[in-house]
């Protein structure tokens, strides 16, 4: 039993991992076909993983409604939101426009989903500003450098800022545009590259750990 429960899955990770890794570098037709097939399979399995999340959401909110837990009324709206998107989708076969006419799904997407998701992200703008005021403390030389880079960028992206810069710094002969370009293509690139390389090394090490079965958290309890 232990074989089926523990060893086989671990063996699968190793086989899958090594095969994917190897096929990337092998230009033979079988290997390319294999990678394509695995991509298709991964799409399908991933779609089921989504189903997992969806079911867990439904179970939790349905449980809230059934037990009349605190705030169960709101849980009903989770289902309402779900059906507002899914029912028109089923009716129009997943298309947002048919023959130049907006379908129910198109309407739902534009006026419900879009309004909600864009607003959720837009609310962050407010928090950025209030946090900038209350927590952006320039207490060290390094924080000052961060502020300076941010300052130049925020100022230079709007015409008013450009004019303000020109009125003070026109003696340098460099508009704020070129300063921003320099910042983005020299020091910022250095910082970003360092981070990317560091992350890449970390990711490779973790992936190797997973393939060789050293990292087993995702398997859950034994």
């Amino acid at each position: 039993m232990k074989i089926i429960k523990n060893y086989l899955p671990l063996a699968m990770v190793m086989v899958m991992g090594v095969l994917m890794l190897a096929s990337y570098y092998v230009p033979h037709k079988y290997s390319v076909d294999y990678v394509e097939q695995m991509n298709k399979w991964e799409n399908i399995v991933f779609a089921f993983a989504f189903l997992l999340g969806l079911l867990s959401l439904f179970v939790s909110h349905y449980g809230k409604i059934r037990r009349r837990h605190d705030g169960w009324g709101y849980s009903i709206f989770v289902f309402v939101g779900f059906f507002i998107m899914v029912i028109p989708a089923l009716m129009s076969g997943g298309k947002q426009m048919i023959d130049g006419q907006v379908t129910g799904l198109g309407w739902s997407f534009r006026y419900v989903y879009n309004a909600l998701s864009a607003t959720m992200f837009a609310v962050l703008a407010f928090y950025i500003v209030s946090t900038a005021y209350r927590s952006f403390r320039i207490k060290s030389a390094q924080a000052f450098v961060l502020f300076l880079a941010a300052f130049i960028l925020i100022l230079g992206k709007v015409p008013l800022g450009q004019m303000a810069w020109d009125s003070v710094m026109h003696w340098t002969g460099y508009g704020i545009d070129s300063v921003i370009e320099w910042i983005m293509s020299v020091p910022a690139v250095a910082g970003k590259r360092g981070i990317m390389i560091g992350i890449a090394i970390g990711a490779i090490v973790t992936s190797l750990k997973i393939i060789f079965g050293i990292e087993r958290q995702y398997m859950g309890k034994d």
């Binding site: 899955p9 709101y74 709206f77 989770v78 924080a143 590259r193």
Partner: protein, 242 residues
């Protein structure tokens, strides 16, 4: 209903949902909670139909109906994930997870190696091979990029203690990081403001007469709700005090 009625209804609904979500900035309230839960459901619903029509239907149901049983393998692996909910047989889900993890880990290594590791290093070194055709300023820039990248890497090298010259180099690295974060912050601010502007623009369109002043009426209704709510709240407090 005619098309214009749908458009007006849409304007009201999107203006209403937008204002409900924004109302959280003033104070937590039931309207916000409703909009928040709707967002949860609608988001899941949207992705559900995306997966349904882009993956389940064309790549699973149709091949199966046409006799192509090969797709049963990924389908079963995927279904095994759902057994997570049933404690007795949840070990079956390990097959689904190990497939995904093996695939992901295997793909990650070459992808990271080539895009994030090799090409970044190549990009740093390449300018030096073209030195003959570059101006003095360009050479200086290329040197700064290379030196900066190395300094940042020194900062991340935690297996060696940061003392002496290592500490000095990693301090320089920190400055480069600060410039990058500052630039990223600047860009984020601009992107978020653009998004917010877009929402306000939509609200403004919904406030037109042709939409029966959706934005204004909903704003007034929310303000009225807050006023009445706080008034009733104060009344309760006064009664409790007695």
């Amino acid at each position: 209903m005619t098309e214009t009625t749908w458009l007006i209804a849409g304007a009201w609904i999107s203006a209403g949902l937008t204002i409900f979500l924004f109302s959280f900035l003033y104070k937590d309230n039931p309207f916000f909670k409703i909009a928040e839960h709707l967002y949860l459901g609608a988001g899941m619903g949207w992705w559900f139909q995306v997966y349904l029509y882009n993956i389940w239907k064309p790549k699973v149901f149709e091949p199966l109906a046409g006799g192509d049983y090969f797709v049963l393998i990924p389908a079963l692996l995927g279904l095994s994930l759902v057994t997570q909910f049933i404690p007795k047989i949840s070990w079956i889900s390990r097959y689904g997870f190990t497939f995904m993890m093996g695939y992901g880990a295997g793909l990650e290594i070459p992808a990271r190696l080539s895009t994030d590791f090799m090409s970044q290093i190549a990009g740093t070194i390449k300018p030096f091979s073209l030195m003959a055709s570059m101006s003095g300023f360009d050479i200086l820039n290329a040197l700064i990029v290379a030196a900066g990248t190395i300094c940042v890497l020194f900062y991340f090298f935690f297996s060696v203690e940061h003392k002496g010259s290592v500490k000095k180099i990693s301090n320089i690295g920190i400055y480069f990081l600060m410039i990058y974060f500052g630039a990223a912050f600047g860009n984020t601010v601009m992107a978020r403001f653009s998004l917010l502007y877009g929402r306000f623009d939509d609200l403004y369109t919904s406030s037109a007469a042709s939409n029966f002043y959706a934005t204004q009426l909903i704003l007034v209704a929310m303000a009225a709700y807050f006023l009445i709510h706080s008034f009733l709240g104060k009344k309760d407090q006064v009664e409790e005090a007695h």
